[in-house]
C-alpha cells in the first residue's frame, strides 16, 4: 500500500522516480502545465463570451499526467469521464483538438455536437462518453471483455470517474462484473472530495473509496493524487496486473478540485475560501516543478521556457481552432444511423433507410 502524503512533505522525501526517465518526467510536467493552461483558457474564453461553457479539472493534473504515462498508447483503451483534460492530452489528444471541442467546430471529433471536455478519438482508443455519471463504467467493462474475448493479451482498459460516480448503481454493477470475470481493467477514482456541491461526508460513510475493493474481491490501492510519480506508479502497477491476466484493480487517487465544477457553478455558495486556499498548498503543478528542479531534472530556466512554449502552443491552438468553421445546420441530421434514415419508411418519395 502506498502511503498518502500531501504537499510540502513530498520534496523532503527521497526522490522515487519509479523508473521514469528525465524525459518522461518532463513530459508529464509539460502535460500538467498544458492542462492548467487550457483549463484557464476555457474559463477565459467563457468569460469573454466566446464559448458557452467549460468544466474544471484544476487539481487533477498529477493523477492524470501519471495515469497517461502508464497508459500504453495504441494498445490500451481509455474510457474516461468529463474531467479528464490532462489524461486526454497525456495520451495524445492535441491542444488544437481540445480547442476544437471548446469552440464546437465542425472539425471536432464529435463535429461540434458534444459538450466541452467530452472528447473521443477512435485512433487513440479513447471512448465517447455522455455526461451521465458512471454510465461509462459498463462500457469500460464491456470493452475489457472484448479484449479478453479476442484473447488480445497485453491489453487493458483504463476507466476513470470521480468520487461522485461511486454512488451510482452502475458503478457497483461494473466493479462486480469485472471481478467475476477477472477482466483486464483498472478502475481509477479521481477523488476530488466534491460531487459539485456535495462533500464526501454526504456521499459515503467510508471516505476511502479503495477499501470497497475488498467487497468485490479485487485488489484496492490508494495513491497521493497530488503526486504524479505516485499516480504513475499506482496506475502502472494496476495496468501491468490487468495486462498479464491478474484481473481488475480499484485504485483511488486522492486529489482536490480547486475551481468550481464548471463555468456555470459558483463554489463560494457551498465551501469556504479558507478550505480551498489551504488545499492550494498541495497544488501539484508548482509542487512537481519544485521537485524536478530540486533534483536537477529541470532547471528554473528550463521550466520557464517550457511554460512559454506551452503558452505559445495553446495560443496557436486557440487561434487555429477559433478560425475553423462551425458545423452546418444540415449536419444536425447526419450520423443518427449508418444509413440515411427517416422514421417513416416511405418509398414513394424516395426516402428509404437503405
Amino acid at each position: 500500500m502506498v502511503t498518502v502524503k500531501h504537499g510540502e512533505a513530498k520534496a523532503e522525501s527521497p526522490f522515487e522516480r519509479r523508473g521514469l526517465s528525465d524525459e518522461q518526467l518532463v513530459a508529464m510536467f509539460r502535460t500538467m502545465v498544458m492542462q492548467r493552461t487550457l483549463e484557464n483558457r476555457g474559463f477565459q474564453l467563457n468569460r469573454q463570451g466566446k464559448i458557452p461553457f467549460a468544466s474544471a479539472s484544476e487539481g487533477h493534473e498529477a493523477v492524470q499526467a501519471g495515469a497517461a504515462m502508464a497508459f500504453a498508447r495504441g494498445k490500451d483503451v481509455l474510457v474516461p469521464y468529463y474531467r479528464d483534460l490532462g489524461l486526454a492530452l497525456g495520451i495524445g489528444l492535441t491542444p488544437y483538438e481540445v480547442l476544437l471541442s471548446l469552440f464546437a467546430r465542425a472539425a471536432d471529433h464529435s463535429a461540434g455536437r458534444q459538450f466541452p471536455h467530452h472528447y473521443a478519438s477512435r485512433s487513440l482508443g479513447f471512448h465517447t462518453i455522455s455526461s451521465v455519471i458512471a454510465a461509462q463504467l459498463p462500457h469500460a467493462v464491456g470493452a475489457a471483455f472484448a479484449l479478453m474475448h479476442g484473447r488480445e493479451d497485453g491489453r487493458a482498459v483504463l476507466t476513470t470517474f470521480g468520487d461522485g460516480a461511486t454512488s451510482e448503481g452502475e458503478w457497483h454493477e461494473s466493479l462486480n462484473f469485472a471481478a467475476v470475470h477477472a477482466l483486464p481493467i483498472v478502475f481509477l477514482c479521481e477523488n476530488n472530495e466534491w460531487a459539485i456541491s456535495t462533500p464526501l461526508a454526504k456521499q459515503m460513510g467510508q471516505p476511502d473509496v479503495y477499501k470497497r475493493a475488498a467487497g468485490y474481491g479485487m485488489p484496492g490501492a490508494v495513491v497521493d493524487g497530488m503526486d504524479p510519480i505516485a499516480c504513475y506508479g499506482g496506475v502502472a502497477d494496476a495496468l501491468a496486473r490487468a495486462r498479464s491476466g491478474g484481473g481488475p484493480t480499484l485504485l483511488e487517487a486522492k486529489c482536490y478540485r480547486f475551481l468550481s465544477h464548471t463555468t456555470d457553478d459558483d463554489d463560494r455558495t457551498y465551501r469556504s475560501r479558507e478550505e480551498v486556499e489551504a488545499r492550494r498548498k498541495e497544488d501539484p503543478v508548482p509542487c512537481f516543478e519544485r521537485l524536478l528542479i530540486e533534483h536537477g531534472v529541470l532547471t528554473a530556466e528550463g521550466a520557464e521556457a517550457l511554460k512559454r512554449s506551452v503558452l505559445e502552443e495553446a495560443n496557436d491552438a486557440t487561434d487555429r481552432a477559433e478560425a475553423m468553421a462551425y458545423p452546418l445546420a444540415a449536419d444536425l441530421y447526419a450520423r443518427v444511423y449508418a444509413q440515411r434514415y427517416d422514421p417513416w419508411l416511405d418509398e414513394r418519395d424516395g426516402m428509404n433507410d437503405g
Binding site: V77, H109, P138, G142, L345, D346, E347
Partner: protein, 334 residues
C-alpha cells in the same frame, strides 16, 4: 423476403428465435449472448438451452441480476468490435437499463460523429395474456419509440422472427427486438432454411381488403386476422397489415392501404395515450385526411398501469378478437 432455400421447417416463435440465434453464433464468432439465466438454465423460455455447452461461457454469458449493466456492457463490447445480443429476461425489467439504451446505445454514433458505433441487439419478451400480472406483462415499445438512434422490431410470425432477427443482428445500429410472450408457443409457421433477412421497416400486408385497413403488430396481428376473417364471412372486406417493425415504420404500406380502403383502425395492446397508434393516426391525418371516409379509430390497451393478475382484470385489459370484430363493423358502418 429473400428466401435462399425452398426448404422450410415448421416451428413456433421460441424455436425461430432459438434457431436464428444459433445460426448467428455459428456463423460469426464476434456474436455473443449476454443476459440473466442464459447459460445453464438456457433462458427462462429455453431459447438458449445447451448453447453454453457448444459456445462456452465467454459467448453465452450469465450475468448477475443487473439490467443496466447487461445493456451497458453490451454497449462497450459493441464499441470494441463484438456483436453482442443482450437479453432482458422480461421487458418489464428493462427500466433499470433505460439510460444505457436511450442515453448511450442510441447516441453512440451521433455523439462521436461515427467514430464509435453500437451494433447490438436487445431482445426481450413482452406483452400480456399469460397471467403475467403487473411485472410480467407490459408493453414497452412506446417508451422507446420516441428515441432517434434506435430501431424497434416486433414480429408476429416465426418466419418474420428469423428474417428480422437476422436483419437486427446484421444492422450497424442498436435494435430493440420485442418478442410477444403469448405468441412464443402459440404461433407456429413455416420458416425457410438458410440465412435470409427482412428489411427493418417493411410491413407485411397479410390479407387484402377493400373496406377497412387494420394496422397492428405482435400478438394482436393474429387476433385481428381472426376478426377480419369473421367479417369476411359476414360479407365485409378487411385489409390487415402487420407492421413487423415500429421504428422505422412503413409509411408506404399504411398510406397505400388507407387510400384504397378509406378507413383506418389501429389495434395495439400497449395503452392508447401516446402509443404507436397516436403516431400512425397523426401521420395519416397529415398525409391522407381527404382520402378518409370515416374518423381514424384506435383500439388499444386502457390507461391503467398494467393488467392485473386476476383473470377478469387481464381479460378487461386485453382486446379480444370479438372486440376487434366489433370495432371493425362499427367503422365500416360509419
Amino acid at each position: 423476403m429473400a428466401v435462399v432455400s425452398a426448404n422450410s421447417t415448421v416451428m413456433n416463435n421460441v424455436e425461430a428465435v432459438r434457431a436464428t440465434l444459433y445460426e448467428a453464433l455459428k456463423s460469426d464468432d464476434r456474436t455473443l449472448i449476454i443476459g440473466e439465466d442464459v447459460g445453464a438454465r438456457g433462458n427462462v423460455f429455453l431459447i438458449t438451452k445447451d448453447f453454453i455447452d457448444e459456445f462456452g461461457p465467454r459467448r453465452i454469458i450469465d450475468t448477475p441480476i443487473a439490467e443496466a449493466s447487461i445493456v451497458g456492457i453490451a454497449v462497450g463490447m459493441a464499441m470494441e468490435g463484438l456483436r453482442p445480443i443482450a437479453e432482458i429476461q422480461f421487458a418489464d425489467f428493462i427500466y433499470p437499463s433505460f439510460n444505457q439504451i436511450v442515453g448511450e446505445a442510441a447516441k453512440t454514433r451521433y455523439r462521436s460523429n461515427g467514430e464509435y458505433t453500437c451494433p447490438m441487439v436487445i431482445r426481450t419478451p413482452y406483452g400480456g395474456g399469460v397471467r403475467g400480472a403487473l411485472s410480467h406483462s407490459v408493453c414497452i415499445e412506446a417508451l422507446f419509440y420516441h428515441v432517434p438512434g434506435l430501431k424497434i422490431v416486433a414480429p408476429a410470425f416465426p418466419a418474420d422472427v428469423k428474417g428480422l432477427l437476422n436483419a437486427a443482428i446484421d444492422d450497424p445500429d442498436p435494435v430493440l427486438f420485442l418478442e410477444h410472450k403469448k405468441t412464443y408457443r402459440l404461433i407456429k409457421g413455416e420458416v425457410p432454411e438458410g440465412h435470409y433477412t427482412i428489411p427493418l421497416g417493411k410491413a407485411n400486408v397479410l390479407k387484402e381488403g377493400k373496406q377497412l385497413s387494420v394496422v397492428s403488430y405482435g400478438l394482436y396481428v393474429h387476433w385481428a386476422l381472426e376478426a377480419a376473417r369473421t367479417l369476411e364471412a359476414e360479407g365485409f372486406s378487411v385489409e390487415v397489415i402487420d407492421l413487423r417493425s415500429i421504428r422505422p415504420m412503413d409509411k408506404t404500406a399504411i398510406l397505400t392501404s388507407v387510400e384504397k380502403t378509406r378507413r383506418l383502425l389501429v389495434i395495439h395492446e400497449d395503452n392508447k395515450f401516446g402509443g404507436i397508434g397516436a403516431e400512425i393516426s397523426a401521420m395519416v391525418a397529415e398525409e391522407a385526411l381527404f382520402h378518409l371516409d370515416a374518423p381514424i379509430r384506435r383500439l388499444c390497451g386502457p390507461d391503467v398501469p398494467a393488467m392485473g393478475y386476476a383473470l377478469p382484470l387481464e381479460e378487461e385489459f386485453m382486446s379480444s378478437p370479438a372486440e376487434m370484430a366489433g370495432a371493425m363493423r362499427e367503422l365500416i358502418a360509419f
